[in-house]
């Protein structure tokens, strides 16, 4: 009987110990825990310093994608007003976020380092159609920095692949 009662207090001791500790809970929607630097979240299509798109519409990302989440339709560049260096650009570039498994193979496959998996992870949708992100949604906006070396490359110490080193 006494032993049973003591066991009860022994358990309560643990409770009491944590009663005066700071709670470990992160108040998520208000406080956001920073992700790791190489976290793979939502994709972004990067640009060169002069505003040209890095993506040249080669579809290598779509070929590398194990989940077939990427859809690319290349288009011819207008020589007078090119969207990207070289002959072609991506006329249509769509990623289905519900198919994508965020493996980063598209990053590896990209010859111009155009596609980078960034840190946004809050991706919830009311219907499946809205999970398809178009090129307008994926392309970085001017105010978010043109022509930075994609952060992933900085961390890994990798050099830009040859087409990206073309002196523009």
């Amino acid at each position: 009987m006494l032993k049973g009662t003591m066991a009860y207090f022994k358990g309560l001791k643990t409770t009491a110990k944590y009663l005066f500790k700071k709670p470990v809970t992160i108040q998520y929607p208000d406080v956001k825990r920073p992700v790791r630097e190489r976290f793979r979240g939502r994709h972004e299509l990067k640009r060169f310093a002069n505003g040209l798109e890095r993506c040249i519409g080669c579809s290598l990302c779509a070929a590398a994608c194990p989940a077939d989440a990427i859809y690319v339709v290349p288009g011819q560049n207008d020589p007078a007003k090119p969207l990207s260096p070289g002959e072609r650009h991506a006329a249509v570039y769509e990623i289905n976020m519900l198919r994508c498994i965020f493996c980063g193979y598209c990053e590896d496959a990209c010859p111009t380092n155009a596609i980078v998996l960034e840190h946004q992870y809050e991706l919830s949708f009311y219907d499946r159609r809205s999970s398809i992100y178009t090129k307008d949604m994926l392309l970085v906006q001017p105010e978010d920095g043109y022509g930075e070396v994609p952060p992933v490359l900085e961390q890994t110490g990798r050099q830009l692949n040859p087409p990206a080193q073309i002196d523009l």
Binding site: V24, K32, L98, R99, Y121, S124
Partner: protein, 184 residues
């Protein structure tokens, strides 16, 4: 809202019945203890003390569908699991909601093959799809908050009208018709 303006600040709040009911529904939405694959690990993490879903009134996962309001389909649903999933859904009392957590539950994800249901919305009506493979606990909580937002805008009698039972013939699990009889 008109009463306070006329009567001044009497410490009274008037609201609509709908507002109160939806407030209640969002703040005590108990999920079902139900994990199918690796997403379940993240679901457990969301429930554990670091993220603590009980901050949103999801005190505990109910092991019985009879006591659950929310089904979080965490993981890929194989064709054999589909009738089971439907039965669990039918056993939940109205009002009930479904979150398809992760790529596999939402649309099959990387498993584009004959063995996996290509999206759990073929079997049960889905309210919110959460992308990620698996989604972080924060991403799941974001999905739950999106669902709360949706529930707040619902009409009280809307649910029964929207949710006419899925015609079993149109679902993948049509072959298992025997197993899918509504349990009502």
């Amino acid at each position: 809202m008109g009463l306070e303006e006329k009567a001044g600040d009497l410490g009274i709040v008037t609201t609509t019945l709908e507002g109160v009911v939806n407030w209640g529904r969002t703040n005590a939405m108990w999920p079902m203890l139900f994990g199918l694959a690796c997403c379940a690990i993240e679901m457990m993490a969301a429930q554990a003390s670091n993220y603590d879903m009980s901050r949103f009134g999801m005190e505990l996962m109910r092991a019985s569908p009879r006591q659950a309001d929310l089904m979080i389909v965490a993981g890929r649903v194989s064709r054999k699991m589909a009738p089971v999933l439907r039965r669990l859904y039918d056993q939940m009392p109205e009002p009930k909601w479904v979150i398809a957590m992760g790529d596999c539950a939402s649309c099959g994800g990387v498993y584009n093959n004959y063995a996996v249901v290509q999206g759990v919305d073929e079997v049960v009506p889905v309210d919110v799809y959460v992308a990620g493979c698996p989604p972080r606990p924060e991403a799941l909580i974001d999905g739950i908050l999106q669902l709360h937002q949706k529930v707040r805008g619902e009409k009280i009698d809307q649910r029964s009208a929207d949710r006419s039972p899925i015609r079993v013939d149109e679902t993948v699990a049509g072959h298992h018709r025997g197993a899918l009889k509504p349990l009502g």
